[in-house]
Symmetry: C2
Subunit: 269 residues, 2 copies
């Protein structure tokens, strides 16, 4: 295989599995090439992804070491994605009444969600999280994509304990959005005590469900090292969690005028 | 930017968004290069991804045309992924009793799930589907990744109608696994009547929930053009859906001996 094809192939393989370490020998065997050639190819691959601000390929020395791709995104592309999210959300026909917006099509648009996930992956790349945690349902695609970018297992907290989850721990919490007590439940074998979790979710209003998530994780002595939400409502001003990073803020919904005001969070970058 | 870096960058961009059409002008502007150079680069990019059997870059002529990446996977890699899935599933400690297995860690392992998704994307690339549909919860990551590979919207059918889904249609169906009537619900605005859907789910036993999914979609005159499941149980022999493609078959669970017999489905390729 020619050098420029090797470089392209290395880019494809590393970027398909972000943060997964590949031993150089893997590529030596695949391309029947010497380690010195592969090292040069990896340098070119890194130069390429860095030149388009899509990430970095770094070398991890030692036993179990190798090379891995760390995703990145430029400020310009981040803003374009934020603009696209805001523009999609501003459509007045999304208003459902009671302060609710229809967002399923956005949260289930896998290309958009994968773009949003890279923004979070950049933001939380040094969080030290062992898991990405979310609560079912609408946040699962985005949380799953963030888990993919960070090469972390996903933990999905269920609304109801399911038999197929084995033994579970449940808590009740107050949801301001639904104005009632809700339940969440986590499989005991899904997590290890004493670890760290990054919470990713689609929407936050008062933060009740994120507080519930934090509480249920603390039952396992799991520390929350970051909270990323696609959209955070500006009201209520007082939130039940102290620190969170939204991609966009929902400022207000005017049901009469069918107007939605959404703005980008410039601090996400 | 040098030619070999352009080729690598084109591979990164196209393979990040499978089946999304990029106008050549996009790359001309990005690299400040002539259309003829970019055409050559795209050829080299195609040669590269084809040489490692990871896909094809094709040209779509006409207005709105451009180039796009169609994912592919080799028989050898398919079998390696199937072997890995079977080996993970064969762990006796997964047995929960009542014929249930704990599989959440597998279905929420985003790298494995993204590998499984490419197998389905290859299988169903010519299905003509307009959506990927699944029923919450455990199948969402894999369905979401298949949707990403095929560049289709994901439709998640809920167990319960949610206020945030707006107006919904619900049906009741019989679940053999849980031996009871269950409900599923779909947002009216999530789908267009007269379209086609590809169903992707994590597990199938008798097929009751997939039959329910087919029924609820038929309420919208939506034709199911394929069903892919990660794992299908061999028993019961009689299924409620006639055609489905599993990646692995669950042959039996021996609760006394703590033994699980899982085999690859050689016909998935």
């Amino acid at each position: 295989m020619k050098k420029n094809m090797r470089v392209g192939a290395i880019i494809k393989i590393l970027t398909d599995s972000p943060n997964k370490i590949y031993n150089l020998k893997y590529f030596c065997d695949m391309f029947d090439a010497a380690k010195s050639s592969i090292s040069e190819d990896v340098s070119s691959a890194n130069e390429t992804v860095e030149s388009i601000t899509e990430g970095h390929i770094i070398t991890i020395p030692g036993i179990g070491g190798g090379v891995k791709f760390i995703p990145d995104i430029s400020l310009e592309k981040t803003q374009l994605i934020q603009d696209r999210l805001c523009s999609l959300l501003s459509d007045g026909s999304r208003i459902l009444g009671g302060g609710f917006l229809y967002t399923s099509d956005i949260m289930f648009d896998s290309h958009l969600v994968s773009d949003l996930a890279v923004i979070f992956a950049r933001k939380f790349k040094d969080s030290g999280a062992n898991y990405v945690a979310t609560v079912e349902t609408k946040g699962i695609p985005i949380a799953s994509m963030v888990a993919h970018q960070l090469n972390l297992p996903l933990v999905v907290i269920r609304r109801e304990a399911k038999y197929s989850e084995g033994s579970t721990v449940s808590i009740n919490y107050f949801s301001g959005s639904y104005d009632r007590i809700q339940k969440m439940s986590i499989a005991k074998r899904a997590v290890q005590p004493g670890t760290k979790a990054l919470i990713i979710d689609d929407f936050m209003r008062g933060g009740g469900s994120l507080k519930g998530l934090t509480d249920i994780l603390s039952e396992f002595n799991i520390e929350v090292v970051g909270i990323g939400v696609a959209i955070a409502s500006v009201v209520p001003e007082k939130k039940k969690v102290s620190s969170f990073s939204p991609i966009a803020y929902l400022e207000y919904i005017d049901e009469d005028k069918k107007e939605i005001k959404i703005v980008s969070n410039s601090e996400i970058f």
